[in-house]
Point group: C2
Chain length 565, copies 2
């Protein structure tokens, strides 16, 4: 079991990277603090839980995961999914809500770990790229709209997209001016920094790399400046601006999760969906970096790494974690080469929580909301939609349906719809396998589609080339095709199946072929096969059908043609 | 639209079959009456509904369906599914229950018709043969066990397998002797007739075809004899034997189905499952006969035929119908050549209901239960399990899981589990596509797997042949394979993908290939392709990736090898 071998980055030859890793770890810690607080609030939790979730889980992933650069912590999508699962069950930020969030992390962690031990990493492929992209884009819009009340300093009833927008519109007269100035100002500055700062810095000062770092630091700077403005204007109470509020200093404590069995049961489905989405996001991110750096990623080790990270998060006052996009980008571009960077980041985060956590008490909520809004909007992925629309419209419709599902019906249903659509498209495509009746090109041993080439056929013989593996979803299509051909060519005495592209025949297709052979025999039509691949032949040979066909399986199509008379 | 063209059997050249068809129709009518009554009772309905369901639906299918021999009517599996869906909602055989059963038929009929119009016949392929077989086998056992109390003349609380068996055991002292004698006697006679009568008749009288007909008539004969015994012993009341009871003579009446919207809503999921299972059963049966007779089956016309049949059943006091196995076998072997046989059967059934329906009032229930028990046990399909176990254990486990799901958790969950398992096996297999690194056989233009053959490779070039279409479920596997190969061969300067077996590349795989090309470029590795099929090339050419690769796509692997230096 690969995931028991321990981390390779501990080896002597990797230690030369550790200084660079320490720098990267420090950069990540500083830059992701506002994000961690903001995502915890997005999940409806006390902000400190975002920091708690950045210590033990990060260490666990560093030792168990297989990616060298993936940075684990609270992320936008699973934070929203946490809120969406728990708000119907308890009051946000109440002790019960906190316990449920910890239980949710624990459950999805156990599911991920179990899936890793059972080597079920392949299940992540139930989702196609357009479905993932449509889902994440829908969630991005959902989160962005959800930030509007916080940025404007108003409260609205309900949580849906329509409810929030209508609520903002109806309560526009209640907008709190100081809050809105800070919030909207932060959105404008952050948006500008993300869109233009790196490029302009390069043009002004000729150092694009420094400019890119300035753009990444923008959220931290904006938060600091906003805090100073609030303090300079007489503090949050006199301004009436909402701030993060009291934070208990100290490290995350080990604690049991106390829920009753009905509560555990109601968490099962959301935990499964959060595990699935968290895993899919983390693994696509990690895979992109592994490929860039010529490293190997082990999906089942990723499952165990993320799983144990979530279990520890649940036991230490954190909530669901996954591989985060912006964290990982910062980590990689700050020079991280091994997970030692994450170890440093976790230790520094612990230090921050011991010494400086009270500094975050005065952060204005509107500015955190602004930073969430600007950062999630980059997750909106119109490019995949555009690409799919031009390349394969079935995929584009999957994108749109999943996107609309998330916005209209909700996060869980959206992803469910996406899985069903992915599979329906797969079955639909598979149920129409490519097949061609072939003939011989005169004077050669080459065989080609009779509809596209000038070829010779033999009277009484139909040679059908099957271009895909045969299994339950397309077995009936072959049967129909044969019935169709026979009803058109009533003089047929021999049917030759050319299986050069068939890698597998499952039980359903085997039963179909067996019945086909029997019913053709009754009609006086001889079924034969050519170019059966080795592994297919090995299995087929042991069946009753294989024994009946034994003398009618030819190595090449040419041989089968020559045997027909 | 093929299903609007009308029946071909109406044409002059088919009329010569009509005499034979009339005989077959008469035979079917007589032999399936006891079965129709019994299945309606199995569904928890008044027995006459089984007769009602054998008139209008049969006519509808005859005119709209595409099979020449499929005989439609009440069947065991959907009868059980009807009971399983409705017993939690209403008291069996109550007016409300009857209305719900009609609504259920109406809804699944509408779903089937809609699916046919939308050409969704391919959805039936969501189920693999082992899953269908495991499901039907589970249902057979469930039905068989459910007949025990009726055969023994006792009542047991609850409906599950365990509850029924425990109930029979605990109430064994309440067994009603005359009922049990009739019931168990009927089981023994019917079992013996089914297993041995045809063979022994052939040995004794030298006429195996007559023997086969004797075996088929056994249920009718047993029912008649049992009825005579009851009448001769002083009638049902004095014996204490349960009989079918009062039957209103007359034809099925057109009537509205009156349910409230909450009731319609609660019928949606069961209706979908009944539609799915009814269609899958009917179509596999019809396909088997179409193949034997060199006829064409149109799955989407089957959907419309079965759909309208169920809609009419719902409007005329019937319940869910489908293509029945024993009906169809009787129909085909009695000589039916066209659906005129079904038209005759429907008209005769109407005549029976007008003139003779009260004759069925004295049929003993225990004997009907016995005939259900014996006939459903033939649906138990150990052969497919055995075959799958030897051929492909993943399929055998699907069989066992679906079978166990039906018995332990229930009919709906069993079929849900089956669909999920079919798809999971499909995705699992697809997620591990066959790929081979190839080299050139010296002195030829042939390329073979380097692990199996003595071949030449070129330094710095990896030639990878992909043996399956690329799509979301296996795109990551190709990406991983490439990363693996590159990490093992650090001198690689060129990666050649041989796509001779790739019929499709979906958007997910396209995005993966695009990213792969970019990241290989950054590492100084040149990605090229060979043997790209026409339809794949057409799509690829319009993409950004296709334009970047344009000069690196070779017609043959040999050409690509020659271009490498």
């Amino acid at each position: 079991m690969g995931w028991l071998r321990g981390p390779t980055w501990w080896r002597a030859d990797q230690r030369r990277h550790w200084t660079g890793d320490a720098v990267a770890g420090a950069v990540v810690t500083v830059l992701v603090i506002p994000q961690s607080l903001a995502y915890a609030m997005l999940a409806g939790l006390p902000p400190t839980m975002g920091l708690y979730a950045s210590v033990w889980p990060v260490l666990a992933y560093a030792f168990l995961g297989s990616s060298q650069v993936l940075a684990v912590g609270p992320v936008a999508v699973t934070s929203l999914m946490t809120a969406s699962a728990l708000l119907p069950l308890a009051v946000a930020a109440s002790p019960e809500y906190v316990a449920l969030a910890m239980g949710l992390a624990l459950l999805s962690g156990l599911m991920l770990t179990l899936a890793g031990v059972l080597r079920l990493g392949f299940l992540a492929y139930f989702l196609s790229q357009p479905v993932i992209s449509g889902f994440v884009s829908g969630v991005a819009i959902l989160i962005a709209i959800g930030q509007l009340p916080g940025i404007l300093g108003i409260t609205v009833p309900g949580r849906g997209v329509a409810q929030t927008l209508v609520g903002v519109w109806q309560n526009a007269h209640l907008i709190h001016a100081p809050t809105a100035v800070l919030g909207v100002g932060a959105v404008v500055v952050l948006w500008w920094a993300r869109a233009h700062l790196a490029r302009l810095w390069g043009r002004w000062f000729g150092a694009p790399v420094v400019g890119a770092w300035m753009a990444r630091m923008a959220p931290l700077v904006v938060v600091l400046v906003a805090t100073l403005i609030v303090l300079a204007s007489g503090g949050a109470p006199s301004l009436g601006v909402a701030v993060v509020g009291p934070i208990e200093p100290g490290l995350p404590q080990w604690q049991a999760v106390s829920l009753d069995s009905a509560q555990w049961l109601s968490l099962c489905l959301p935990a499964l969906l959060i595990a699935l989405i968290g895993f899919v996001e983390s693994v696509s991110l990690a895979q992109a970096y592994a490929l860039q750096r010529q490293q190997r990623l082990a999906p089942n080790r990723e499952l165990v790494g993320l799983g144990v990270a979530n279990v520890l998060s649940g036991f230490t006052g954190g909530y669901s974690v996954a591989g985060g996009f912006s964290r990982t980008v910062i980590n990689a571009s700050a020079g991280a080469q091994t997970p030692m960077a994450s170890v440093v980041a976790a230790l520094l985060m612990a230090g921050v929580m011991l010494g400086f956590s009270q500094a975050f008490e005065v952060l204005p909520v509107a500015v955190l909301s602004a930073s969430i809004l600007v950062s999630v909007l980059t997750l909106f992925d119109a490019q995949t939609l555009r690409q799919a629309w031009r390349y394969d419209q079935a995929d584009a419709w999957s994108w749109l349906a999943t996107f609309a599902g998330v916005l209209v019906v909700g996060v869980e249903w959206g992803i469910g719809l996406g899985v069903v659509l992915s599979l329906a498209v797969l079955v639909w495509r598979s149920s129409r396998p490519h097949m061609a009746v072939v003939g011989r090109i005169a004077g050669t041993e080459h065989f080609r589609n009779i509809e596209r080439h000038q070829v010779q056929t033999l009277p009484g013989l139909i040679a059908l080339r099957v271009d895909e593996s045969l299994f339950f979803a397309n077995a009936a299509a072959l049967e129909e095709k044969v019935a169709d051909l026979l009803s058109k060519h009533s003089d047929t005495r021999s049917l030759l199946l050319i299986l050069s592209a068939v890698n597998r025949i499952d039980t359903t297709a085997l039963i179909m072929l067996d019945e086909l052979e029997r019913s053709l025999s009754l009609q006086g039509v001889r079924l034969s096969m050519a170019e059966v691949k080795g592994p297919v032949m090995d299995r087929l040979g042991q069946t009753d059908l294989g024994r009946r066909l034994a003398s009618r399986i030819y190595l090449s199509t040419n041989e089968a043609f020559n045997a027909h008379r």
